[in-house]
């Protein structure tokens, strides 16, 4: 039975089952899980099971689980998968379930795995790739089989040197073991009546640009161009990588897939919570990477719906040095901040509607204690957006620069009250008007600045000098402006 409200029912880890983490294991025991160890712990069983199912059954199961994307937008993965156009055979018939075991040539349908993880505060995919790479590979294989995709590209950010090497090594094992490549998914389809289904998988390394995490920017980057996001529609499921149908999923989203297939959608729906505001549910567990002023920062696997206070107190050992909570970035800087009175905010997909932030984002909170200078926080975040704006859209390119300059001025004490209003106006006009910018980066800038400035207004006001307003004209004297 799905739960209406958070109550911890986790008695073991799922995503982190091979990656020891408190409360079910000790961080020191972490190592890279090899193919043999992964299989020894029940790995690749999900993939074997999918081979006995038809693609539509698999997509149906994922849809039923209500698994929502873990990369930031929270779009239901199963629904995304079902947007792919059907494959047509030479005689014009559409490929359906009756073709499940038959040889259907699949060309030019792609999976792009989003391993770009560059949102400040977010460090969860790193852990999955670093320690348990085969979980991701299994998720990729299942997704490719279910959606009939021919190639998968893992787009990993350039700074993840070690993780890229780990993945390359795991991929080599997977090729040898008949997961990918010409041996077919699990060697020549020994589980199915039909012939083999070939999937290729590659690691593709980025080169230091946050914007390549945006799904269409990522496609451009794989194509070897600069990572400029594309205008949508057309959506990638129809016209994506090299103009072909493409699915883009986050690393964590794909890592959930094997367990959903293994245990079934109903099992997944028992973890996490129903929406309390009548929206779509937040089922399953989620990796929460807590950073900032807590005693034990780190990545923890929790059920969705956990209140931030519980996460900090029970998992992270409380606030650092027993200080008071002042605020937290909800889940990556683009989402905005939770104010001092929102320590009890539940971390689920309803958070945007309930606590005046953009959304759950990556669910990786950065926590601030009472000594934090929120004006400096705001300046830091606006510098990030100024630096990472790709420069295509005028409001984002120019606005982010102006905003950063203004915030520097305010931080240094040279600002005036009217600068606060100007900063808010710039922030608000960036991204809020639909269609004025191509991607969501401007939106993130808008939310971050706007929520910090409104939730800590007094702090900003204390930093600036008053603006002199001419109240009345006195004959002979000049009013200051």
């Amino acid at each position: 039975m799905p739960k209406a409200k958070y109550e911890n029912s986790l008695d073991r880890h799922y995503l982190l089952k091979n990656i020891p983490t408190p409360p079910f294991g000790d961080v020191k025991a972490r190592h890279i899980v090899s193919y043999d160890e992964y299989v020894g712990n029940g790995g690749y069983q999900g993939l074997r099971k999918t081979l006995t199912m038809t693609p539509n059954e698999i997509i149906g199961e994922v849809k039923q689980s209500s698994l929502r994307g873990r990369g930031g937008a929270g779009f239901p993965a199963g629904v995304k998968w079902s947007f792919l156009p059907p494959i047509k055979l030479a005689d014009g018939t559409e490929v359906g379930d009756e073709h499940a075991g038959k040889d259907v040539p699949v060309e030019g349908r792609y999976l792009a795995v989003n391993a770009d993880e560059s949102e400040p505060g977010t460090f969860k995919d790193r852990l999955l790739m670093e320690c348990d790479p085969h979980a991701l590979l299994e998720g990729i294989a299942i997704c490719c089989y279910a959606c009939r995709l021919s190639k998968a590209y893992i787009f990993i950010r350039g700074e993840y040197h070690h993780q890229a090497h780990v993945l390359e090594k795991a991929l080599k094992e997977a090729y040898e073991q008949g997961i990918f490549g010409d041996k077919g998914i699990i060697g020549s389809g020994e589980n199915t009546a039909g012939p083999r289904f070939r999937v290729d998988c590659y690691v593709h390394r980025g080169a230091g640009a946050y914007i390549c995490g945006e799904e269409t920017g990522l496609l451009e980057a794989i194509e070897g161009k600069r990572g400029w996001p594309r205008t949508k529609p057309p959506f990638p499921a129809i016209k994506g990588l090299f103009g072909k149908p493409t699915i883009i999923n986050n690393v964590e989203t794909l890592c959930h897939i094997p367990d959903i297939i293994n245990h079934g959608a109903a099992w997944f729906c028992e973890l996490g919570v129903e929406s309390s505001v009548g929206g779509p549910p937040s089922f399953g567990t989620k990796l929460m990477g807590v950073s900032g002023h807590v005693e034990r920062p780190g990545v923890y696997e929790c059920e969705l719906g956990i209140p931030l206070r519980t996460l900090v107190d029970e998992f992270c050992g409380g606030m650092r040095n027993g200080k008071k909570f002042k605020g937290a970035i909800a889940g990556g800087v683009s989402m905005g901040v939770l104010g001092p009175d929102q320590f009890d905010a539940e971390l689920d997909f309803d958070i945007g509607r309930k606590y005046n932030v953009l959304g759950l984002g990556t669910a990786c909170p950065t926590v601030f204690d009472e000594d934090t200078d929120m004006v400096a926080v705001c300046r830091n975040i606006s510098r990030f957006f100024k630096h990472e704006s790709c420069g295509q859209c005028t409001p984002c390119r120019e606005g982010s620069g102006w905003l950063y300059q203004l915030l520097c001025k305010i931080e240094s004490g040279d600002g005036r009250t009217k600068d606060l209003d100007l900063a808010l106006e710039i922030a608000t006009s960036m991204g809020t008007m639909p269609g004025t910018t191509i991607c969501g980066l401007a939106d993130g800038n808008n939310w971050a600045t706007r929520t910090i400035m409104s939730k800590y207004r007094e702090e900003f006001e204390a930093r600036v000098k008053p603006t002199y307003v001419p109240v009345a004209m006195t004959v002979g004297a000049s009013a200051k402006g």
Partner: protein, 183 residues
């Protein structure tokens, strides 16, 4: 990202007789990378990585060689290379020290780390030491926020560093460089 304009028509490209793109690299691109993608253009990123890995930066001549090998316009390679921050279009020090300056690191003492490096090496952010050993840069989030403040030294990540540790790390790397080990 800054747009830097220069009168390109008068710009001289420094050349050397020997190709930057070695035969081994050409084979690797042709055999490993080109078959992966629908277009050869998609090999630009991997090819640039190869060059940077080998030489520490990407000379213009190397970009031309990549363009010729992939049968794309040199402008395409330049375009891509200039967009991505990780590619160095000018020589940098043997060891690149990247300090994360994003939010989690800043509130956990990043400034002291940058200052420690600046003081130790006598350079400012985005400068290289005179002996060509170290370059210091500040980057946005390295994806290691739980271990803030975080720095990348070469390809190695160091988490929860203190100013004293930073000095030790630099000393160690310097000994490695002096002993002839590249970093």
């Amino acid at each position: 990202m800054a747009w830097i304009t220069k009168p390109s028509a008068t710009e001289k490209i420094e050349r050397r007789g020997e190709a930057y793109l070695t035969d081994a690299m050409r084979t690797s691109i042709t055999d490993d990378f080109i078959p992966r993608f629908e277009t050869t253009m998609a090999c630009i990123l991997p090819a640039l990585h190869m060059i940077q890995h080998e030489y520490g930066w990407i000379p213009k001549q190397a970009m031309e060689e990549i363009a010729r090998h992939l049968e794309v316009a040199p402008a395409d390679v330049f375009d891509t290379a200039t967009f991505y921050e990780e590619y160095w279009l000018k020589p940098k020090g043997k060891c690149l020290i990247s300090v994360c300056r994003s939010i989690a690191c800043e509130v956990c003492g990043q400034q002291e780390i940058t200052d420690a490096v600046r003081e130790k090496l006598g350079i400012e952010v985005s400068e290289t030491t005179d002996d060509g050993k170290f370059t210091l840069v500040e980057l946005e989030c390295l994806g290691a926020c739980g271990g803030a403040p975080a720095i990348l030294v070469g390809e190695t990540l160091h988490e929860k560093v203190t100013p004293e540790q930073v000095v030790e790390i630099i000393d160690r790397v310097e000994r490695e460089i002096d002993a002839g080990g590249g970093h």
